[in-house]
């Protein structure tokens, strides 16, 4: 077998160093995307090689926090894939109505677009008051932004279209006020939201939940790590709890395929058996 290429060795050592030093575990992330993001970070952090980057982040926690911003994918939008939110509204919310109190986990919430989308949906379905939303991510910078609830004005037209396609009952602008170059979402939406640092790779279950929404996170994981995440969701969900995934994600080929049934195939909503 050919010897491993130098930059592949470097990448593996970098990922190991990050794990040993900062306990962020990227060891089971898909390689292609990770390589690309590290290559991008090399340019941005002005390092000649991955080894140089490794030295830098081992001795400088600030540099690591910068690197983390490139390694995580803070790309999100409100009511992304409106059909998903429409299916939640029509097929999941009526069932959630039967519970006196609700716990919802948004795993990998990034900068919070999905959190506010979910809160608006719950509010319009009369469920927000009785809900607790756990919004978790591994990136503290993203979590801070999520908590602030300020989004770029430029995106609001697209978000409004999504919101309407998702069966929105009002105007999206009812939920935010314009402030300088951004918009700030009504803070009552996040009154029952707990933003928390949580890793699907290294942490355990923290609450029993009725709905887990984890979209476009698992696509970055290899199969064993996907299985770990499904295990956490399975453990967290109550009997007959709901699991929502991204449009290209499925539980079908995981070890938990038989522990869930499909509620809506195209919208990727599953239900614990």
């Amino acid at each position: 077998m050919a010897p491993e290429r130098t930059r592949d060795i470097e990448l593996r050592l970098l990922i190991e160093a990050i794990y040993l030093k900062y306990n962020y575990d990227f060891r089971d992330y898909s390689g292609a995307s990770l390589k690309r993001r590290v290559r991008h970070a090399l340019v941005q952090l002005e390092c000649q090689s991955i080894s140089a980057l490794q030295e830098k982040i081992l001795y400088d926690a600030g540099a690591f926090m910068q690197l983390l911003q490139y390694l995580t994918i803070p790309v999100s939008e409100m009511f992304r894939d409106p059909d998903y939110f429409l299916a939640l509204r029509q097929q999941v919310m009526p069932v959630l109505h039967t519970y006196p109190s609700l716990k919802i986990w948004i795993a990998g919430c990034s900068t919070g677009e999905e959190v506010y989308s979910m809160a608006i949906l719950l509010k319009e379905e009369g469920l927000l008051e009785r809900s607790i939303i756990y919004a978790t991510d591994i990136n503290p910078v993203s979590l801070e932004r999520a908590e602030r609830g300020i989004f770029a004005q430029d995106n609001m037209r697209a978000y409004t279209e999504n919101y309407q396609a998702a069966g929105g009952r009002q105007a999206l602008s009812d939920y935010y006020t314009a402030a300088y170059d951004g918009v700030i979402f009504d803070k009552s939406l996040r009154a029952n939201v707990t933003f928390a640092d949580h890793s699907l790779a290294t942490d355990t279950v923290f609450a029993e939940t009725h709905l887990v929404s984890c979209r476009n996170v698992l696509i970055y994981f290899n199969k064993p790590l996907q299985d770990r995440a499904f295990g956490l969701f399975h453990e967290s969900l109550c009997h007959r709890g709901f699991l929502g995934l991204g449009g290209k994600e499925s539980i079908d080929f995981s070890s938990y395929a038989r522990s869930f049934e499909t509620l809506c195939r195209p919208e990727r909503i599953f239900r614990k058996l």
């Binding site: 390689g31 292609a32 995307s33 690309r36 790309v75 290209k248 499925s250 195209p266």
Partner: protein
């Protein structure tokens, strides 16, 4: 390029081709129909295609093209293992990459040149995995996505083909590629079709 010239270029390539990646944008559907028309079912390599399309709608591209060509074609699934004899199309809204174990992976990172899927993602990841055993075709298109990716294929020793910009429906994409590198072959669609049939038939793996 003459038939003799591309035949020579293909014969001179030092490695057997184990996979083909194809990128196209504006005018791409017709270009793909043209170059795949010479393939027979059971062709010996996996073919992975990124075609830029508006991402709002679910795509039936694979189904439609597969039916018209009479060839196995499907929209790529996350984690799927590449198989010879199949044409895989990137799904709208996601970047598509090849992993070291020759499976496909998805990503929702930022669009590249307003495109997601981006040709560069596919080409660069496949170049990294296959090295000289990869062939990359870049066809008609209205932006410069794919140029850097095709250069990466070349840099890893792969076999690169650019559609002749004089013939391309929109020449921007082939011209961007030519600005970055001298590919192994510059040719029209009819010649690329013949080259693909030969490449697939003479594969020695």
């Amino acid at each position: 390029m003459s038939q003799q010239a591309w035949r020579a270029a293909l014969a001179a390539h030092p490695a057997a081709i184990e996979a083909l990646v194809v990128g196209a944008s504006a005018g791409g559907v017709n270009a793909l129909l043209a170059i795949f028309a010479g393939l027979q079912p059971g062709f010996g390599v996996p073919i992975v295609v990124v075609l830029h399309l508006p991402s709002k709608h679910r795509s039936s591209l694979a189904e439609v093209l597969g039916r018209r060509l009479g060839l196995p074609a499907k929209e790529a699934d996350s984690g799927e293992q590449l198989q010879p004899g199949m044409i895989y199309f990137a799904a709208p809204g996601y970047h598509l990459s090849v992993e070291a174990d020759r499976s496909l992976s998805f990503s929702r990172e930022e669009p590249v040149y307003y495109s997601r899927p981006a040709i560069d993602f596919l080409f660069e990841s496949a170049a990294d995995v296959y090295g000289p055993a990869l062939a990359g075709f870049l066809l008609t298109g209205a932006n410069q996505d794919g140029a850097a990716g095709l250069a990466a294929i070349k840099q890893q020793g792969g076999f690169t083909v650019v559609q002749d910009p004089n013939e391309a429906h929109v020449p921007t994409m082939p011209m961007a590629a030519l600005a970055l590198q001298q590919p192994d072959v510059i040719a029209g669609l009819v010649e690329i079709r013949a080259l693909l049939a030969e490449l697939e038939a003479t594969r020695t793996c």
